[in-house]
């Protein structure tokens, strides 16, 4: 699974992207976030305030119950501030 991080999520996690082998029990976005938090304090800090974490799967905005699977591109970022 390809993970992308933007803005302060990128800074807190300390990388812009990575490829991860996600365990079989991780089937939804919410479970993915829980599992990422367990990877280290940088992830835990970045994902602590869940309300501020937006998720896109394959470049579409999704909710916490959206399915994720190997091969997906999953992006985590704060609320957008363009324009």
């Amino acid at each position: 699974m390809k993970l992308l991080y933007f803005a302060w999520l990128r800074q807190k996690i300390g990388k812009a992207e990575e490829s991860l082998e996600v365990p079989a029990h991780v089937k939804e976005v919410g479970q993915l976030l829980d599992w990422l938090e367990s990877l280290g304090p940088n992830y835990a800090t970045a994902l602590k305030e869940r309300r501020a974490v937006k998720v896109a799967v394959n470049q579409d905005y999704v909710g916490l119950d959206h399915p994720v699977k190997a091969g997906d591109e999953v992006a985590l970022f704060p609320p957008v501030t363009g324009g």
Partner: protein, 155 residues
Amino acid sequence: MIRVQRGDFDIGAELERLAAGSHQVGGIASFIGLVRDIAPAESGGGSGAASAMTLEHYPGMTEKRLQEIEAEANRRWQLEASLIIHRYGRLEPGDRIVLVATASRHREAALEACAFLIDWLKTEAPFWKLEESAEGARWVEARASDDARKAAWKK
């Protein structure tokens, strides 16, 4: 048409092109977003130092979302042409960030669709602003009022 680019754009040429070749266009509405020097206003005077910013975006998804927003505007209003240009990278006060423009037979459609495009873009397009000031860099926070404006367009 949508474009995501680092470089600046020529407003006159872009708006000219929007109506070119069709004499069915009665009105062109546009909105240009600029980098505002927030330092003096919000710190109550202060140094007046210019505050630059860096716009980060999500290549691929940005283009996809802008195309969807543009398509939605064209579903809601009868437009002859529409345009969204959004820049990324480092920008200084006074620099242009974004141009949205709509051409229609009638001004109502052009004006409404233009406001729609910028309102939706603000809350939908994956861009993030990192502002620099004398105190350091900080990520701009999303405004609840932007969400409210977007919600007001919901059908």
